[in-house]
């Protein structure tokens, strides 16, 4: 969790970052046996300005790099430009 946070902090200087471990919801299913986690992420960063959802998610995946293979089995992402609802793309 700390490694995931650190990477995101460094790459995207987020105004807000919430990372929730939801691995317990998936205990017992095939993906859970790898030992890698299921996480839910809500991240607010000015770096997302002008980007579509695919581009925003790619920035997150790029920041996480190899953690996507080693630590993370599944990641649900909510990537916002600001906390205002009007910019929720």
């Amino acid at each position: 969790m700390t490694r995931i946070r650190n990477r995101l902090q460094q790459a995207l200087s987020p105004a807000a970052l919430e990372l929730i471990d939801e691995s317990h919801l998936h205990a017992g299913h095939a993906g859970a046996s790898s030992g890698r986690g299921h996480f839910r992420l809500r991240i607010v960063s000015r770096r997302f300005a002008g980007l579509n959802p695919v581009q925003r998610h790619r920035l997150v995946y790029d920041a996480l790099g190899d953690l996507m293979q080693t630590d993370i089995h599944a990641l649900s992402i909510d990537a916002l430009e600001s906390d205002k609802n009007s910019t929720n793309v």
Binding site: H29, A30, P53, A74
Partner: protein, 106 residues
């Protein structure tokens, strides 16, 4: 045809295609299930590739699409997103428009 060409051909030949774990009838992952349910609810025909049955595709596609996880939904040759984005588009009514336009154009 190598695996990269085969994947690109699949994306090109089908106006809507989902690369998923399992099939729309028997999804093997909750995220793949939700994304395929959203497509099904749009009432259009779509192609699917089960990446659990095709490990080569599972290996190669993330590099081609610059997207590390499954499912991956392509409409008109473009990556539209994974589960989060596709379900979000569906809830906004945009996936319905995108998919119908893609089927009409094809």
């Amino acid at each position: 045809m190598d695996i990269t060409d085969r994947i690109k051909q699949t994306i090109k030949d089908n106006p809507i295609v989902i690369f998923m774990k399992g099939t729309p009838q028997f999804p093997q992952c909750g995220f793949s299930m939700r994304a395929s349910q959203a497509l099904t609810a749009c009432g259009v025909q779509y192609a699917h590739v089960d990446v659990l049955a095709e490990p080569e595709v599972r290996q190669a596609l993330p590099q081609i699409s610059q997207w590390p996880t499954f499912p991956q939904v392509f409409i008109n040759g473009e990556l539209v997103g994974g589960c989060d984005i596709v379900v979000d588009l569906f809830n906004k009514g945009e996936l319905q428009k995108l998919t119908r336009a893609a089927v009409r154009q094809h």
